[in-house]
């Protein structure tokens, strides 16, 4: 058994139309609401492409890497960039479809740093020549971006801007190492959040790799120590509430974890159901034992609930709903917890083979665990939700 999404009996063995994680016949798994034909098509194309890509992985690899050039060819990098800047002019709802499929495949790709956070951050900024040029470059893939924003439970910006210089440090920044340009979420001398663009290798800017157990993700540390700043590289958030815009950026990051988490949870349920239907012990398939069957049913229910919460959050973020934060914190906390439960159950139900390196379930478990921690642990998101009930 391999959980590698190569179509050889592992997690990616479901066809593009649905799979056991789906809530029902016509609705695909993670069919995030009324997305219609465009999303079904995007989902099918993404799943097929990722499966073919995974098949090229070497026999010793437990996960697949999606090359940058392949990502650029798909057009996924610029989904949210406006059409006049060579993007597709669509919303986070479509980005969510891609994230969900990347999670299913546990694919290693800088999509999160550049397309989800980079393009997402630029979209929230006031238009201007410098921002527009970078947005165009990110959309077509000629520049790779990373966004240094708070990645833990505390969401205060880690960088300070004074008149001419910026300083600060951010850790576990997605896809920082290898990025051509890094966008720092900073606070200006007036206390307002701004975005400062720097390049690795600029004086005072250090970007280093930050290895983590989840090998499918590339994280980095961004240290900026009194780096001189060109005023043309300081960008303000559009609208009259920059703090809210900065929160929206964090929300998008948190929601990306949930999209990925739902995808990988579905993949693990499918591979577990397939295994339980074929593996025989005591003279019958282990899936006929109630203990195993009911554990799979619980995974199915968690996925069904998570899919609904995720759908609500994706719709509200895509619509720039001012209350999107509530739906995001619900989705992030529920789905990322459920995903760990589900992958954990997958490892358990696969028995000994599930615990081997070659089996590959560990790839999903590590990714699910990282998703749960990145951009706010479940408890941090629940604290945000709970604050509404505590007010005097």
């Amino acid at each position: 058994m391999s959980a590698r999404p190569d179509g050889q009996g592992g997690a990616g063995s479901a066809d593009g139309s649905g799979g056991v994680g789906g809530s029902g016949g016509a609705a695909g798994p993670g069919d995030l609401g009324d997305l219609g034909e465009l999303h079904r098509e995007l989902r099918a194309v993404a799943r097929d492409l990722l499966r073919r890509n995974a098949a090229k992985a070497g026999p010793d690899q437990t996960y697949a890497t999606v090359d940058w050039s392949l990502l650029a060819d798909t057009g996924w990098l610029g989904l949210e960039a406006p059409e006049e800047l060579d993007g597709a002019g669509v919303t986070f709802a479509e980005v969510a479809v891609v994230l969900h499929e990347l999670g299913r495949a546990a694919a290693s790709t800088p999509y999160l740093g550049s397309a989800v956070l980079g393009v997402g951050a630029l979209r929230l900024l006031e238009a201007g020549p410098g921002r527009d040029e970078l947005l165009r470059a990110a959309a077509v893939g000629s520049q790779r971006l990373a966004v240094a924003l708070p990645t833990g439970d505390d969401d205060t910006a880690a960088f300070r801007l004074d008149a001419h210089r910026v300083s600060g440090q951010a850790d576990f920044v997605p896809d920082a190492a290898g990025a051509d340009q890094v966008l720092l979420l900073a606070v200006d001398p007036d206390g307002l959040p701004v975005v400062v663009r720097v390049r690795p290798g600029d004086p005072g800017v250090t970007v280093t790799d930050r290895p983590v157990l989840d090998e499918t993700r590339g994280l980095g540390t961004v240290v900026v120590d009194g780096a001189p700043v060109d005023p043309a590289s300081v960008w303000r958030f559009a609208g009259d509430d920059p703090a809210a815009a900065a929160r929206r950026l964090r929300d998008r990051a948190a929601l990306a974890m949930a999209c990925d988490g739902l995808g990988l949870a579905e993949a693990m349920l499918e591979t577990t159901v397939e295994y339980a239907g074929t593996r025989r012990q005591f003279g019958r398939p282990i899936g006929s034992f109630q203990a195993v069957k009911h554990a799979c049913a619980d995974m199915f229910v968690q996925i069904a609930v998570g899919r609904e919460l995720l759908g609500e959050a994706v719709r509200s973020v895509a619509a720039d709903d001012p209350d999107a934060g509530i739906a995001v914190s619900r989705a992030k906390s529920y789905v990322c917890v459920a995903a760990v439960d589900i992958v954990g159950a997958a490892m358990q139900l696969h028995g000994g083979i599930g615990y081997t390196w070659e089996g590959g379930v560990h790839v999903y478990l590590k990714r699910a665990l990282l998703n749960r921690s990145l951009f706010g642990a479940p408890a941090a998101h629940r604290a945000r939700l709970g604050a509404r009930f505590a007010a005097p």
Partner: protein, 404 residues
């Protein structure tokens, strides 16, 4: 029965209309008058409330337009939200009538059966479900009550159990065995039984919460005319299965909004009420964490129920969505009530009665918690739902049948 789409502005206008109606029509003192109400008082109150809702067009919004419903799902959600938020009484007595009986008649009944009963239900006809038996609980298909063909009708003998509200019922949805010679699921027929027929004896069974709405029904030579058969003879199991998804969607939509807009809000109120020492439970971060978790799960449940109804109308609902919703609601209700008992502390144990006509979360938390097993056990236990999800939803192999 696809319902039309509705604009945001129309929905806001509808919400305002329901709010005005609730402020004018929801009796302000019903919790007091229904606490410890006699059976007669309860029935009278329920019938009166039902007619008030009916006049407003709010009693059976989920029915097709031609029978007096036709409300778009989005509006139904608003209606249920506002009824719950205004602490309206629930339709307890007519629950089986407007949901189970109606969806069975609409899905499988004859025109004559519909004409006879749907308007009667609007006029207050009360139904009970006669499915379970002492020896047929989770294994419902092994039921032993027999219906023997005799002349122009059927003669029924046997015993039904857990028939909620049977003491007040006019009619019964009855499953009985018409062919004992074939495999158990193929020999069952579905009947509409007049509860005034000779040979019916109803005895209440007191439940764990101390209430007696569950009943045993003893059937001795009860004659049912052939015209009261629903669907073909021996196809009753299939009729029961096919109406399940519809009725679950409709019932759960209301219950989920109730849990979100009434139960959870009262739980928050309980958590904000200072204890004897002056501190509020809500000032404890552990309490807030649990509230946030339940808030999230209830949001998920509500979306799930709404999705089920919409997909059912669109014909795209999956084979086990109804089981998923029933299982999730039951266990979430139980978890929520358990937590409410915990934060409410000792005073909750001194709430000795819950008002009749209230929801599953009345605020008498200990009784509500005990009452939550009325969800995890009947209508297919949680274990049965998991087996259904595993086998029909995921395609896992069935358990080998042990030969007897």
């Amino acid at each position: 029965m696809t319902t039309p789409a509705i604009s945001t502005a129309d929905l806001a206008e509808f919400r305002a209309e329901v709010r005005r109606w609730c402020r004018a029509e929801v009796p302000s003192d019903w919790r007091r008058t229904q606490a410890g109400a006699s059976d007669d008082e309860f029935v009278r109150f329920q019938q009166e409330w039902f007619q008030r809702l009916r006049t407003a067009g709010f009693a059976v919004p989920h029915w097709p337009a031609e029978w007096g419903g036709g409300m778009p799902v989005a509006q139904q959600v608003v209606l249920y939200q506002e009824l719950a938020a205004h602490d309206a009484p629930r339709l307890v007595l007519g629950f089986v009538s407007i949901h189970h009986a109606a969806s069975t008649l609409l899905a499988a009944g004859t025109d004559e059966q519909r004409r006879r009963h749907l308007p009667a239900i609007l006029d207050g006809e009360i139904w009970v479900q006669g499915f379970s038996e002492p020896e047929a609980g989770s294994d419902l298909a092994s039921l032993r009550t027999t219906a023997r063909r005799e002349g122009d009708g059927f003669v029924v003998d046997g015993q039904k159990l857990w028939a909620s509200g049977a003491a007040h019922a006019d009619w019964c949805l009855l499953l009985a065995r018409t062919d004992p010679a074939v495999p158990k699921r193929r020999g069952i027929s579905y009947f509409l039984m007049d509860m005034r027929s000779p040979g019916i004896d109803v005895r209440p069974v007191r439940n764990a919460a101390g209430e007696s709405h569950f009943c045993e029904i003893f059937l001795n030579g009860v004659v049912i005319p052939a015209e009261n058969l629903v669907g073909p003879v021996d196809q009753g199991w299939q009729v029961a299965q096919s109406t399940l998804s519809a009725e679950r969607g409709m019932t759960m939509l209301e219950l989920a909004e109730r849990l979100g807009n009434a139960g959870f809000r009262w739980l928050v109120e309980t958590c904000r009420t200072p204890g004897p020492g002056g501190g509020r439970p809500v000032d404890d971060p552990r309490v807030l964490d649990r509230l946030a978790e339940l808030d999230t799960e209830i949001a998920g449940l509500r979306a799930l129920c709404r999705g089920l109804v919409e997909r059912h109308e669109a014909g795209t609902a999956g084979p086990v969505e109804a089981s998923v919703v029933k299982l999730y609601y039951s266990e979430l209700l139980q978890r929520t009530m358990d937590f409410a008992v915990e934060v409410a502390g000792l005073p909750a144990h001194a709430e000795l009665r819950k008002p009749a006509s209230s929801g599953w979360e009345s605020g008498a938390w200990v009784l509500d918690f005990i009452g939550s097993w009325e969800w995890t056990i009947p209508g297919g236990t949680s274990e049965i739902q998991r087996t259904i999800i595993g086998e029909r939803g995921l395609g896992l192999p069935r358990e080998p049948v042990v030969s007897s």
